[in-house]
C-alpha cells in the first residue's frame, strides 16, 4: 500500500490538462485557473509525504507524531463496505498537498491575480465588501490564501484563523481541544485527514461573546486529482454564540478529486453554534467528510447541511449531547442528479438526561441520481427524559432515480420519546396542473414545488446562501422536465 512519493517533473499545465469538448453542463464553477504551485507537487501517500508536510509547516513534534500515527490507522482500517461506491478512489494518484501562494494575504488586493480572479468569479469579494459577514477565509488547494476578520471582533478576543496559523500562534489552546471530538482513529477518512490535514478554520469565541453576523469560509479545489483535507476546529466558550458558513466548489476534470475534511466543534455550557455548509463540488469530487460536535449542558448545536454537488458524498453531521438540557439539530438537504450519489444524513447521540434533538432531511433525486438518508439516533443508558424527532422526506422526479432511507434508532433507556417518520413522493399532477393553470411553465412550476419542498431548510440559511441554494436548485432543475 505504501508507495514512495514520486517526483513529478510535469508542469502544472500538463498535470491539469483541460479535457477537450468537456460539457460543463449547469455547473457554474467548472472552470479552473492556471496557477503555478510554489513547490513541486507529489502524488501518492506515504510516511515521507506526511513528514514533508509537517516539516514544511514547521510543526511541533507532537503534531508530527499525531500525523504519523494517523497514517498507520489509515493503513490499518479497511475501506467501508457500506454507503457509496469507494472502489474507484486511487489513493496513489492524489496530490496530498499543494501550496498555491507563498504567503497569506490580509487584504484582497494582495492576493495573486489568478487566485483573486478565481474568487472574484465565485463572488466572494462582493460579500465581503457588503460587510454581510464578520470574517472570511478562503482556502485554495491545501492552504488558506486569504483571511480577514472584523476589527471589532478581534477586539473582543475572537480568534478566527486558518488552522495552520492557529497551531503556531495558540498552541496550548489548540492542543487542549484538538482531536478530542473526532480522534484520529475514528474512521478511515478521519485518519487520512489527520495524517495529511492542511488549512481549514480555527475559531475560538470567548465566554459570553456573541458574534452577530456569520463567519465565512470558501474552499476551492483547482487542480486535477487534488486531495483537499482541511481541518476545522470551533470552540465556543460558555454562553457564547457563533454562526459559521462554508461553501465549496471545484473545477470539472476528467479524473476525480478527493475532499476529506474533519470538522470538530466544542459547544461549552449554554453556548450556541450554528454551522452551515452548502457543498457544491463538481461531479467528480468524492466528498467524504467527518463532522461532529460535542454539546455540553444547556448548549445548542445546529448543523445546516446542503449537498448539491460532488460525485459521491458520505457525510453525517453528528451531535454528541453530553450535558443535561443540551439540544442538537440537524437540517439536511440533498440534491442528486445524473451520476451523483448523496449518502448524507445525521447522527444524534443522547448521553445526558433531558437532552433533545431534531433531524429534518429533505432529498431530491432526478436523472438517475441517488440520494440516501443514513441516520442514527442513539440513546445511552442513563439519558432519561430524552426527546428526539426525525423527519425525512424524499422527492423523486423521474422513474430512473433512487431514494433510500436508512434510519437507525438505538435506544438503551426506558424514559425516551423517539419518533421517526419518512415519506417518499413525487410531484403531484394536481399541483403541477394548478400552477400551470396560473400561467407558470411546467419547468417553473416544478422548480417552485421543489423550492417549497426544501423551504424549511432554505429559510434557515443566511440570505445570500438561501438565494444561492434556490438558484442552484433552479439550475439543477433545468431540463428536468421530460
Amino acid at each position: 500500500m505504501v508507495t514512495d512519493a514520486r517526483d513529478l517533473t510535469q508542469t502544472p499545465e500538463r498535470i491539469n490538462p483541460v479535457p477537450e469538448n468537456v460539457d460543463l453542463g449547469a455547473y457554474k464553477y467548472g472552470w479552473h485557473d492556471k496557477v503555478t504551485s510554489v513547490f513541486e507537487p507529489k502524488r501518492g501517500l506515504s510516511h515521507e509525504v506526511v513528514e514533508e508536510i509537517s516539516q514544511m509547516k514547521n510543526e511541533p513534534d507532537w503534531m508530527r507524531q499525531f500525523r504519523h500515527r494517523a497514517l498507520d490507522y489509515f493503513y490499518r482500517r479497511p475501506m467501508p463496505q457500506w454507503g457509496g461506491d469507494l472502489s474507484k478512489i486511487d489513493f496513489d494518484n492524489i496530490f496530498y498537498f499543494l501550496r498555491a501562494t507563498e504567503k497569506q494575504a490580509a487584504s484582497w488586493d494582495e492576493l495573486p491575480a489568478d487566485i483573486k480572479s478565481t474568487y472574484d468569479r465565485l463572488g466572494i469579494p462582493e460579500a465581503e465588501k457588503q460587510r454581510l459577514i464578520a470574517g472570511v477565509a478562503a482556502q485554495y488547494e491545501s492552504e488558506v490564501v486569504y483571511h480577514k476578520v472584523r476589527e471589532d471582533l478581534e477586539a473582543q478576543g475572537v480568534i478566527f484563523l486558518d488552522t495552520d496559523t492557529a497551531l503556531r500562534e495558540h498552541e496550548d489552546l489548540f492542543r487542549e481541544h484538538w482531536a478530542t471530538v473526532i480522534p484520529a482513529n475514528d474512521n478511515k477518512f478521519a485518519a487520512l485527514n489527520s495524517a495529511v490535514w492542511s488549512g481549514g478554520s480555527f475559531i475560538w469565541i470567548p465566554e459570553g461573546v456573541h458574534v452577530e453576523i456569520p463567519l465565512q469560509a470558501y474552499f476551492r479545489i483547482n487542480s486535477q486529482n487534488m486531495g483537499q483535507f482541511e481541518r476545522t476546529l470551533i470552540i465556543a466558550e460558555p454562553g457564547s454564540s457563533v454562526h459559521y458558513v462554508e461553501g465549496c466548489t471545484a473545477p470539472i476534470y476528467s479524473s476525480d478529486s478527493l475532499h476529506s475534511a474533519v470538522v470538530e466543534i466544542i459547544v461549552k455550557p449554554h453556548a450556541k453554534v450554528r454551522y452551515t455548509t452548502i457543498q457544491n463540488w463538481s461531479n467528480n469530487v468524492y466528498n467524504l467528510v467527518t463532522k461532529r460536535a460535542a454539546a455540553y449542558e444547556g448548549a445548542t448545536m445546529e448543523w445546516i447541511d446542503g449537498n448539491i454537488g460532488s460525485k459521491l458524498t458520505m457525510k453525517y453531521p453528528a451531535v454528541l449531547l453530553l450535558g443535561p438540557h443540551a439540544h442538537g439539530e440537524i437540517l439536511s438537504v440533498a440534491f442528486a442528479g445524473d451520476g451523483q450519489h448523496q449518502d448524507a444524513g445525521a447522527k444524534l447521540t443522547f448521553a445526558a438526561p433531558e437532552t433533545t434533538g431534531q433531524i429534518v432531511s429533505k432529498s431530491i433525486s432526478r436523472d438517475g441520481g441517488r440520494t440516501s438518508y443514513r441516520g442514527l439516533i442513539k440513546v445511552e443508558e442513563g439519558a432519561e427524559s430524552v426527546k428526539a424527532n426525525v423527519r425525512c422526506d424524499a422527492l423523486l422526479l423521474d422513474e430512473e432515480s433512487r431514494s433510500d432511507t436508512y434510519p437507525y434508532n438505538d435506544v438503551k433507556e426506558e424514559d425516551v420519546t423517539l419518533g421517526h417518520e419518512a415519506t417518499v413522493s413525487k410531484i403531484g399532477d394536481d399541483q403541477l396542473f394548478y400552477l400551470q393553470s396560473r400561467g407558470l411553465s411546467e419547468a417553473e412550476a416544478i422548480a417552485m414545488i421543489v423550492r417549497g419542498f426544501i423551504e424549511p431548510i432554505s429559510k434557515e440559511l443566511p440570505m445570500e446562501y438561501a438565494l444561492e441554494l434556490n438558484r442552484l436548485v433552479s439550475l439543477q432543475m433545468e431540463g428536468a422536465v421530460g
Binding site: Q81, W82, A394, S403, D404, Y408, G419, E421, A422, V424
Partner: protein, 456 residues
C-alpha cells in the same frame, strides 16, 4: 451404509455430506443439490458479525464450531400423540382449554427428525391437499419440489447459512394446496428441540392459483436443555395468483439455551395475498428474517409482536420487495422489552424500478419497560420508482404516565393498569389476527408473559 445420527460441523466434506445424504435416504437429485450447496458454501464468505446484515446478531451465537449436526432425539419414544402448544405458554399456565388449535392438519419435527406421521383432515386429502415430511416429498413429489426447493425463493448460493442449510437439512414439511382449494382450518407445523446440537429444518409451501391456506408454525422446547441448541429454519412459500396465505410463526422456545435463525421467503404471484404474523416470546438468541417478493397487484401484510425478557436477544429483519407495479404492503411490528433484554426491528422496503403505483407503509414500535433494555427500530426504504406512496415510522417509548394515572383514577391498581396498557399496546397487532383460535392463543401467551413480569 450404517445409520448416521449426527455429524460434526467441523470438517464437512463431500464424503461426510454424501454419507449424511445416504443415511437420510435422499433421491439422487437432492444428493446432487446438497453437494452443489457444499461447493457454494466453500466459496461463500462465512459471516463474522461485521457484515451489515449481521451487525445486530452475532452469527457465532449459532455455536457451530463446537456443535454436532443432529437428527433425532437422544431418548427413544418421542411423543407419538401430537398436539400443538408445546411451548412454554401452554406449559407455563395461562392458556386453558379452548385456546388450543384445532388444526386441519399437523406435522411435527423434533431435534432435526420427523416425529410421528403427519395428520391431515380426510376431506382435505380428498381435495388433493398434500402434507408430507421432507423425505417423502423429495422421493414422491419431486415434480413439485425439485424446481423450488432452495433454488427459487431461498436460493442456496445466495448466502452462507442458506448453503449450509441446503447441505445439511434433515427434517421438514411439504404442504401443497391445489388450484382453487380453500383450506379453512389452520395447518400446524411444530418444531421442537429437546437436546443440544444443531438442526436444519425446512418447510416448503406451495399454494396454487385461487387457493387459500392458513399455516401455523410453532417452535418450542422444555425449559431445561442439556446444552446449547441451534435451530436453523427455512420456510419457502409460493403464493399463486389470487391465492391467499396466512402465515403465523410462533417462537415459544422454553429454554434460553436455544439460538434460532429463521428465514422465511414468500414469492407472491399476481394479485396474490400474503399475510405474515411473527410472534417471538421465547429463546435466547432469535433472529427471524421474513421476506416477501410481490408481483403485480399483490398484497403483503407483515405483523409482528415480540416480548423480550432479561437475557433474551431478538432480531426481526423484514424485507418487502415490490418487484412489479401496483402492489401494496404494510408492516406493523411491536415489541415490549423487560430487564436487560434487546429487540431489533429492521425493515427494508424495496421498490424496484418498474414498480409504479406501489403503496407501502412500515410502522415499528418498541415499548421499553426497563431502563436496562435495549431497543432498536430501523425502518429502511430503497425506492427506485417515483410513482409510489411510501412512508414509514418508528418510535420507542415507555408506558405513558397519563394512561396509568387515568386507569388508577378509576380504581385500578397500578400493576394491573400497567398490564392493561401493555396489553393495549399489542392489541393493534392482535386485532388483525383473523383466526379466533390463534388470536386467543396469542393473547394467552402474552398474558402469561405479563404475569411473569409481575411475579418477577
Amino acid at each position: 451404509m450404517a445409520a448416521i445420527d449426527d455429524i460434526p460441523f467441523k470438517g464437512l466434506d463431500q464424503a461426510a455430506v454424501t454419507a449424511w445424504s445416504e443415511a437420510l435416504g435422499d433421491p439422487e437429485w437432492f444428493r446432487a443439490r446438497r453437494l452443489e450447496a457444499l461447493a457454494a458454501l466453500e466459496k461463500l464468505e462465512r459471516p463474522t458479525g461485521r457484515e451489515e446484515p449481521w451487525r445486530f446478531t452475532n452469527p457465532r451465537a449459532a455455536g457451530l464450531d463446537r456443535a454436532r449436526i443432529i437428527r433425532g432425539g437422544a431418548q427413544p419414544g418421542a411423543p407419538e400423540e401430537l398436539s400443538p402448544g408445546h411451548g412454554k405458554a401452554s406449559s407455563g399456565g395461562g392458556s386453558g382449554a379452548g385456546t388450543e388449535l384445532e388444526p386441519g392438519g399437523l406435522i411435527a419435527m423434533a431435534d432435526g427428525a420427523q416425529t410421528g406421521r403427519p395428520k391431515l383432515a380426510a376431506d382435505l386429502a380428498e381435495r388433493g391437499v398434500l402434507l408430507t415430511d421432507l423425505a417423502t416429498a423429495l422421493r414422491e413429489h419431486a415434480d413439485l419440489v425439485e424446481p423450488r426447493l432452495l433454488v427459487a425463493a431461498a436460493p442456496f448460493d445466495e448466502d452462507w447459512f442458506l448453503a449450509l442449510h441446503a447441505t445439511l437439512v434433515s427434517a421438514g414439511a411439504f404442504l401443497y394446496v391445489p388450484r382453487g382449494v380453500e383450506v379453512e382450518l389452520p395447518i400446524g407445523a411444530v418444531y421442537r428441540r429437546t437436546r443440544s446440537g444443531a438442526t436444519f429444518a425446512h418447510t416448503l409451501v406451495v399454494v396454487e392459483d385461487d387457493a387459500a391456506l392458513t399455516l401455523v408454525q410453532e417452535h418450542g422446547s422444555p425449559e431445561e436443555l442439556d446444552g446449547r441448541a441451534f435451530h436453523h429454519g427455512v420456510t419457502e412459500l409460493f403464493v399463486g395468483e389470487r391465492a391467499s396465505v396466512q402465515h403465523l410463526t410462533l417462537q415459544e422456545w422454553g429454554s434460553e439455551q436455544v439460538t434460532h435463525f429463521g428465514v422465511q421467503r414468500a414469492l407472491v404471484a399476481r394479485e396474490g395475498r400474503y399475510r405474515s404474523l411473527l410472534v417471538t416470546l421465547g429463546g435466547g438468541v432469535v433472529r427471524i428474517a421474513p421476506d416477501a417478493r410481490l408481483s403485480e397487484g399483490s398484497e403483503a401484510d407483515f405483523l409482528g409482536a415480540a416480548f423480550a425478557d432479561e437475557g433474551q436477544r431478538f432480531e426481526h429483519r423484514a424485507t418487502v420487495t415490490h418487484a412489479e407495479p401496483f402492489a401494496r404492503s404494510t408492516l406493523l411490528y411491536k415489541a415490549g422489552l423487560l430487564g436487560g433484554s434487546r429487540n431489533i426491528f429492521n425493515g427494508n422496503l424495496i421498490i424496484s424500478p418498474g414498480a409504479r403505483g406501489s403503496d407501502a407503509a412500515q410502522t415499528m414500535r418498541n415499548l421499553v419497560l426497563s431502563r436496562h433494555a435495549h431497543a432498536e427500530a430501523n425502518p429502511f426504504l430503497e425506492i427506485l420508482n417515483s410513482d409510489v406512496r411510501a412512508a414509514h415510522a418508528a418510535a420507542t417509548g415507555r408506558v405513558d404516565d397519563l394512561h396509568l394515572f387515568y386507569l388508577q383514577s378509576r380504581g385500578i391498581p397500578r400493576e394491573q393498569a400497567r398490564r392493561l396498557v401493555v396489553f393495549g399496546f399489542f392489541e393493534e397487532v392482535l386485532e388483525q389476527v383473523s383466526v379466533p383460535a390463534v388470536r386467543r392463543r396469542l393473547e394467552a401467551a402474552l398474558e402469561a408473559e405479563l404475569a411473569r413480569e409481575v411475579a418477577a
